[in-house]
Symmetry: D2
Subunit: 200 residues, 4 copies
């Protein structure tokens, strides 16, 4: 899907190209790369993006999967509109924004997903349980954790659900940022990316 703003086949749109709202989380580019790679998208993947925040994963997945369908789930109306604006900005038309609270709102979705990305939500375990039931065979699930509690919950859920081929990566990237004439080493807060698949 050729975008007026981002015409590349590789993911990793710079953070500053997205519209943002104060207080709304955004996966920084380097973390997004890990999430998208762990999703192992196909050009026709159906992806649920739960706790979509600024919508960066939805936008990148929309561009990477021109024949696919992405559903961004977000309960806050203002944030849902932010995702829509970011999709418009990049000319992405295969992202649907579902305003609602997961896991309850997921029943509104008729098509089972090939891929699920869980970046947040009030009750991670309930969300993971629900999406795991809905996930298609050979589907993949990716969840992020920024907190120790989140890491525990996702890790426990993955074990209970018998997610296969689990991989856990902790991203700890430093960027060199221009400050005056110098380039300062600035750390991006570390994020855990957990992923795995449903075998049959």
């Amino acid at each position: 899907m050729p975008s007026p703003l981002w015409s590349y086949v590789t993911p990793g749109i710079p953070d500053e190209m997205f519209e943002r709202l104060p207080g709304i989380p955004m996966s920084p580019r380097e973390v997004r790369l890990l999430i998208l790679s762990s999703l192992r998208l196909k050009d026709d993947s159906i992806l649920w993006d739960i706790g979509a925040g600024t919508g960066t994963i939805s936008v990148e997945a929309g561009l990477l999967c021109p024949k696919g369908q992405i559903v961004a789930i977000e309960r806050d109306e203002d944030v849902a509109n932010l995702i829509r604006r970011n999709c418009d900005r990049f000319g992405v038309s295969n992202v649907e924004v579902l305003e609602g609270s997961a896991p309850e709102c997921l029943t509104e979705l008729s098509q089972a997903p090939h891929r699920v990305c869980v970046e947040g939500g009030r009750s991670i375990k309930a969300i993971l349980n629900e999406v795991w039931q809905r996930l298609q065979p050979r589907g993949r699930i990716v969840a992020t954790a920024a907190t120790l509690e989140g890491l525990y919950q996702v890790s426990e859920s993955f074990a209970e659900l018998q997610v296969r081929n689990i991989e856990v990566v902790q991203s700890a990237v430093n960027r060199l940022e221009k400050r005056g004439i110098n380039q300062t080493f600035a750390a991006i807060d570390p994020i855990f990316v957990l992923s795995g698949e449903k075998l049959d």
Copy 2:
């Protein structure tokens, strides 16, 4: 370019899917993601991959750019054959392996590249100078550094060549690796990825 082994639109082939030779360096998956993203590939990009090592960047770029042409430059014959075997393994047919020593051998290449990736080489500065002259306008250059000396040389060269929109990222990823019943935090040695573009 649909591969029998890797049918995804996202990069990040697991390390263990590549054939390896002892002592030959390989960019681990997480570093590869940063390199490929910084290259900002198009589906018809011409890419020079200098110091290609195991050939992981060439393979992934070959898959991502079905209409593109990748040239992997490698002076050692055994390593050149390793790259060829890794391309065969993934059904990649748009990677040409040029056996030779950069920068000298680059004169054999008639087509100017859109993208250049420099992962090694005896004389980094001479290589960067040469490829910068050959790089097409609006082309992008990405170089990695695993050593302080490499970081200096690439950084100085980029400044001297007036590379634009330079970005420097230090990848410092930890993987959770199964050791017995436990998952141990294992660090991947940090790599600097420097990238930028040629404006005119």
Copy 3:
């Protein structure tokens, strides 16, 4: 306690100054600094060092606490002797090595400790429970975790035992190592250091 080999008031003895045995873990210097700092030793502290391994914490604590008493607990006889040799090497005479398996062997110790360091052991939770009972009021406990499971267990135990003022730090240090004429960035595997205190 002036040592012939290490006459400094600051901790951080270089790794290569210790005698080592293949396969026996050693806290690298940078991690040791975090452990020792989190212990907040006094010059007369009684410290139990459980899962002492190479004995680096015991040696450094012995030097820092000339009026203190350190007990290194280690079940393997060869490793216990290694600790003794490392103490001899640094002229440390206030470290007693107790050969035994924690938590059972801890009953042999009559004096309640001011500080406890738990770097390993078969049953972390049982060890933490036992040492917590024995720890003196206003005492401090420090535990390390190299695995996700260890991080869980220590974190859960600390919560159950109502350890106060818990601090968790993940050490992720890179060293520049000489390889030929270059200095390569080499990552030290990350370790979590959890610490806290007993209020009354």
Copy 4:
């Protein structure tokens, strides 16, 4: 030197125990540990702390070296007073604050130092040159760098001055910070700590 606030023989005073001024840099505890360890202080060391900022290194060194003498060099009067207040707070009386601009003001100091810590300053190279001349034989020098340019300058200076046994460590620590009921992984910006010694 027993302090009313910090009665421990191990360094690593919590950051929040220091008085701070907005905009004035402070080495976070984990970085301070590396700096102090790399200094290898003795109880009677003469230490120059250049670019002392909040004064945390001076305070900790003052406590660790009861027979020593620490000179904190700081050009800004308000910051100099901040250092003095932090010394008072911890009952440290062996720290002298010299208001002035290094390297010029160093001529006012009659005693040659055993240890030098350079955490900042307008002209790092000139400072390193000057202190190297003044440093006593078998003395140690430690410098930090938060920027790529600083890393270059210190590294080049160390090579030119033929500093011996150079060690370079990049601190990249994550802290778990309480945010609501969760503990979030927060990265401390990475700092390079370079150290070495003068042989004769």
